[in-house]
Assembly symmetry: C2
Homo-oligomer: 317 residues x 2
C-alpha cells in the first residue's frame, strides 16, 4: 500500500529497533539515503542497523559508521532505493516478505513492502530522505549532510540529468548550509579516474572508428584490452558514454567482448535516433537515448549487422 511521507515518518517514530536494507551492488543513493536514515534515527535514540548483500565499497567509506553493531532483533524493517526484492541480493533475500516500509523513487517499484512511500518525481531516495528527516525534526550534522548530498549527486550526474528538479536544488542548498563537503565529494565521485580507467579510455580513443559522415562512432573493447588495462566491469562504467559525447555523433556503438563470439553492445544516441528502437532489432531494449543488446557471432558479422541497423536508423530521418 502506498502511504504519504507524514505516515512514513510516524511509523519510524513509533519503532525502536530498526533494520535498514539497501540494494546489492550498492550505489551512492542506496547507501547515502540508508546511512542518512541510520544517523537520523540514531539521533532519536533508536537502535539501528544497516545491511547490504555485498561488501560496502571503499568509495563511500567517509560516511560509514565503524561502530555499527547489530545485536538486536528488529521490530521494523525499512528498505531504501530497492525497487524489487530481487535487488536485495542473496544475503538479504530472507527479508523479502518481511519488509514493513519501502522508501523509493523507481516508478517500476513492485510494491512488495507492507507500506511504500514512492515518489517517482524525486531525483533520488536521498532527496526524499532530506524531507523525511526534516519531518522527523532531525538536526542535520555534517555526517548526514554528506550522506544525502552524495546520493543526490550520484543519481543526477551532479545535477545534470533530467531527473534533477527544483527540490533537488533546494535540498542541496540546505545540505551545503549544514556542512556537506561538496567540493571533495564531487571530486571523489566525478573527477578521479583509476589508472585502469585511463588506460582503457586511451585504448577506446585509439580504436574508435567513424561511419556515415561521422554520425556513427564504433568502438570494440576486447577481453584482451580489458586485461591489458587492468580493467573490470566496474571500470567500464561510463566508457559507453564517450562515443555520444563527440560533436556530431548521433549513434554511438560500444561493443564489449564478453566471451568467444559473444558481444554486449551499448548504444548511445542523440535526440535524432531512438536507441531503444535500434536495440529492439536485436531483442534488446532500454531508454530512448541509452539502450543495449547482445549479439553472438564473429566480429565481422556482428559489426556489419550493427552498422546496417545504425545506417537504417540514421537514414530514416
Amino acid at each position: 500500500m502506498k502511504i504519504e511521507l507524514e505516515l512514513a515518518a510516524q511509523r519510524l517514530r513509533e519503532h525502536d529497533k530498526i533494520l535498514i536494507l539497501t540494494h546489492k551492488n550498492p550505489d551512492g543513493d542506496t547507501l547515502g539515503s540508508g546511512f542518512g536514515l541510520y544517523y537520523g534515527l540514531k539521533q532519536l535514540g533508536k537502535q539501528v542497523y544497516l545491511r547490504n548483500s555485498d561488501e560496502l565499497p571503499a568509495k563511500f567509506s567517509y560516511f560509514y559508521d565503524s561502530q555499527m553493531t547489530a545485536e538486536f532483533e528488529p521490530d521494523y524493517i525499512v528498505s531504501v532505493d530497492v525497487g524489487d526484492t530481487k535487488l536485495l541480493g542473496t544475503k538479504l533475500e530472507q527479508y523479502a516478505d518481511k519488509i514493513d516500509l519501502c522508501i523509493d523513487h523507481h516508478v517500476s517499484n513492485t510494491l512488495y513492502a507492507k507500506e511504500t512511500y514512492l515518489d517517482g518525481a524525486a531525483s533520488s531516495v536521498s532527496e526524499i530522505l532530506f524531507f523525511l528527516l526534516e519531518l522527523l525534526g532531525i538536526w542535520f550534522d555534517e555526517q548526514i549532510a554528506n550522506c544525502l548530498y552524495t546520493g543526490l549527486v550520484t543519481d543526477t550526474g551532479c545535477f545534470k540529468f533530467s531527473n534533477t528538479g527544483v527540490k533537488t536544488h533546494l535540498a542541496a542548498a540546505r545540505l551545503i548550509e549544514f556542512g556537506a563537503d561538496y567540493e571533495r565529494i564531487n571530486r571523489d565521485m566525478f573527477e578521479t579516474k583509476s589508472f585502469a580507467r585511463i588506460a582503457l579510455e586511451r585504448m577506446v580513443l585509439d580504436g574508435m572508428e567513424f561511419y556515415f559522415d561521422r554520425r556513427c562512432a564504433y568502438v570494440l573493447v576486447t577481453r584482451a584490452m580489458m586485461e591489458e588495462a587492468g580493467a573490470d566491469y566496474t571500470t567500464f562504467d561510463g566508457i559507453s558514454a564517450i562515443t555520444r559525447q563527440i560533436e556530431g555523433v548521433d549513434v554511438g556503438l560500444t561493443l564489449r567482448e564478453i566471451g568467444a563470439d559473444d558481444y554486449k553492445i551499448s548504444v548511445r544516441t542523440s535526440a535524432a535516433v531512438n536507441a531503444s528502437e535500434l536495440c529492439r532489432k536485436f531483442d534488446g531494449g532500454g531508454h530512448v537515448r541509452a539502450a543495449g543488446c547482445t549479439l553472438k557471432g564473429n566480429i565481422a558479422d556482428v559489426k556489419r549487422k550493427l552498422l546496417a541497423a545504425a545506417q537504417e536508423m540514421l537514414g530514416s530521418r
Copy 2:
C-alpha cells in the same frame, strides 16, 4: 565606490538607454549575466544593447537576441563580470572611464566604475543577476532562465567547484522552476567534445609520463600536436585538468609549446601540494590547486627543472 544591490537596482530603474559591456574572450557568465540583464531591462521597456570586443561564440547562441539594435546614445553604461578595464578588449576600451556601474564577483576588481556592486562570495555574476532581477520585479521567462542558468553552471563546473554556495542552488532551483532547459544546457556545456578535442585528449593520454611513484604526471603538448589535432587554445581548455584526475596523482604538469623553446606550464595539484608555491619558483603563480608559469629553454632542461621542483614539493611533506 561600492554600493548595495538595492542601489544598483534603483540606478537601473532610473535610466532608459542602457549599454551593457561584457569581457573579451567571452564566457558563459559574462554573456549569461549580460543577456539576463538585457532581457530583464527590455521587459521594463528600456532601450538596451549588449557589446563585446570579440565575436559572440556560437556555443551560447540559444540566448542571443537576433533582433538586437543599437541605434541609441546610452545614458547609462554597465559592465558585468569585468574585473579590470583591460578585459574590455580593443573595441570596448573606449568606454574604460565612462562606466557607471560594474556588477562583479571577482575580489580582484579594480573598482574602475563610478559605482560597483561586488559580491566576492557569489559563484558568478549570473547568480547576482538572479537576485538583482528579483529586486527589479522581473518576470523570469525561459529565455532569462536559460541565460542565468548557463552562467551559474559554466562558472561552477556544474555546481562542483568550491565557489558554489547555498544561494547558487537556491537560484538554480528557481531557474529550473522558471523553465531553464538545464538538461540540454548541461549536455552542450559539459558533455560535447569536438573532434579536435577528442584527438588532443588521445594524444595527451598516449604521451603522459609518470614520475615519483606515479605521484607526478607529466605531459607535453607541442605545436605540431595541436596542429595535427586541429586544436586551438580554446580546445585546450580543461586539458590541463586531466593529469590531476588520475588516482594518486598529487602534481600534474601540462606543458604547452607556445614558441621555439618557449613553454606555458599548467600545474594542477591535489590537497597535498601547493601549486601556486611550485609556480612561484619560476615567477608564476595562481591558486593553491591550479597555477601556471612559463619557462624558456630546450625541452630537456625545462622538463628537468619542473620535475625537480615537483619532487621537492612532494618530498617536503
